[in-house]
């Protein structure tokens, strides 16, 4: 399928902001949104009054516990402006810059504030996990009393079985990402751990141990995306959003092979076509594949075509995905290290690519010269892929 997309304006990112990610923050969702937006605007050299449109994203209302959360959290950011909130499950955080892209690319808006917020801690008792009980099919799945981790464990085991990958190979992703996060000022779960620490951590649902999983978090992130004309006015160092992709597979996750993420392959193909990328293995210099679980980074690298199917564990073991490797992945520290306030975690990954391409990632800056980068997220019942490709 060739996307029939009319691009009127090139789109650039000119600023970004990110709050701390923590298990509990005192600030309200409105305040977290305002803080992240204020940071992004400061970096872009703009004020709220300069913004034409606001595009935001957040996970289900049932986390923050305000059942019109989109309109609620943007109060300090979007009053009097066109605003839309987008939602595609865990894929939301990367879908927010995707949706902001078409606001600018179409010529509709010139300066867009791009925001993602999550306050999972409000769903206080018994645990924010309980919200996830409501993503299952209420008639044929929910009566079995599933835990969210079931579905990931099922996918992980299918992937291990199909590709001949061992748990200790997968644990290397957690070790790498948590270590990378030691250099991230927002990080909640940064740590120096070993493969054995992962394997010996609490068994939740075999094959998933506690340290295979990202934490529950509060946080917010924001970007400013503008047209080419404004990008050239505002900065000498714009980062261009050159490709966007998104794709949906069926909710019936029990009816397809979980070993390979076809929906992501399709989303990536869309983004690559727009960006003119023919060989992602050669052309993508740095990537932030979505890593709420460690095996997911591997699964997603394969779906993104950053390595052949079933080869991501090998590539990781060889050290190629380290910050000084040929294909640095999750240099931010990812969700495993920085934390997972759902939508905010996705935008954090897009922001990391922005900072990496600008050369502003500080201690996290990858060793090689990077021109093209990619951020990706995934969500719902193993069915949504969202991809954004950026260039310096």
């Amino acid at each position: 399928m060739r996307p029939n997309i009319n691009v009127k304006n090139r789109v650039a990112v000119v600023g970004a902001g990110l709050t701390l990610f923590r298990r509990r923050l005192m600030e309200t969702p409105q305040e977290l949104s305002w803080i992240a937006a204020r940071q992004a605007l400061d970096q872009a050299g703009l004020d709220f009054n300069d913004i034409d449109c606001v595009v935001s994203g957040s996970a289900p209302d049932a986390f923050d516990g305000v059942h019109m959360k989109g309109e609620y959290y943007v109060e300090g950011v979007a009053n009097g402006k066109p605003h839309v909130r987008v939602f595609v499950g865990g894929g939301t955080g990367v879908f927010v810059p995707v949706a902001a892209w078409w606001h600018v690319a179409s010529g509709l808006c010139r300066k867009v504030l791009v925001l993602a917020e999550e306050k999972m801690s409000s769903a206080s008792r018994p645990h924010p996990q309980a919200v996830f009980k409501h993503i299952w099919d209420p008639l044929v799945e929910k009566p079995l009393n599933p835990n969210l981790i079931w579905i990931f464990a099922m996918e992980m085991h299918r992937y291990m079985y199909r590709c001949g990958v061992r748990k200790e190979d997968i644990a290397l992703v957690s070790v790498k990402n948590k270590r990378n996060a030691l250099d991230h000022p927002s990080a909640q779960a940064a740590a120096k751990i070993t493969v054995d620490d992962v394997l010996n951590s609490e068994m939740l649902v075999y094959p998933v141990n506690r340290l295979d999983v990202s934490p529950v978090s509060d946080g917010a992130g924001a970007m400013v995306m503008v047209s080419e004309e404004w990008a050239n006015r505002l900065t000498d160092n714009p980062i261009w959003v050159e490709g966007v992709g998104f794709n949906l597979d069926s909710t019936n996750w029990t009816n397809r092979d979980l070993g390979y993420p076809v929906y992501l392959k399709r989303a990536a193909e869309m983004a690559y076509r727009l960006a003119g990328i023919e060989n992602p293995m050669k052309e993508i210099d740095v990537a932030e594949p979505y890593d709420p679980f460690d095996y997911k980074e591997l699964h997603h690298m394969e779906g993104l075509g950053l390595c052949p199917p079933c080869k991501a564990a090998e590539v990781t073991k060889e050290g190629l995905t380290q910050r000084d490797g040929d294909l640095p992945t999750s240099p931010s520290g990812g969700l495993l290290g920085v934390g997972n306030p759902i939508a905010a975690a996705g935008i954090m990954k897009a922001i990391e690519i922005f900072w990496q391409l600008r050369g502003e990632a500080g201690a996290r800056q990858v060793k090689k010269d990077v021109v093209t980068g990619l951020a990706q997220a995934w969500g719902d019942l193993m069915q949504v892929g969202t991809v954004v490709v950026m260039r310096r």
Binding site: R24, M26, Q30, S121, S122, S124, H134, P143
Partner: protein, 135 residues
Amino acid sequence: MEVRMEIEAYEYTAGPLGDRWLNEIKQGRLTAAKCPSCNTIFLPPKLYCPKCRSRVVDLIQLGKGKVEYMITVGVDDEGKELDHPAKVAIIRFPNTFGGLVHYVSDDVEEGDEVLPEFREERRGSITDIVRFRKA
């Protein structure tokens, strides 16, 4: 097929300034936020100014409020008839942006000046104010 919401309880924090504002109410004082940048006084207090969107850190004491609109409510949130109809009002304060929604005593009419009536036992909540009564 019956399905229940499994979240037993949400617990909302009020943010750094909201926390201080509710603590003031706990002490029996009704305050509002004041923006250090554009001097806007506003309710309810938040970390950012609703006018100029600067960061806000200060609270100031409020005096009398004024009932702007008022309704009389005959049923509760499940549609059951109340024994005693309740009066609910939007209360504004002089030179203050925003306001409060709260109960008012039976004799209050639109346009009346009002003051908060605090409970004896307070925990730091908007419901530490029982109602607003005629000043």
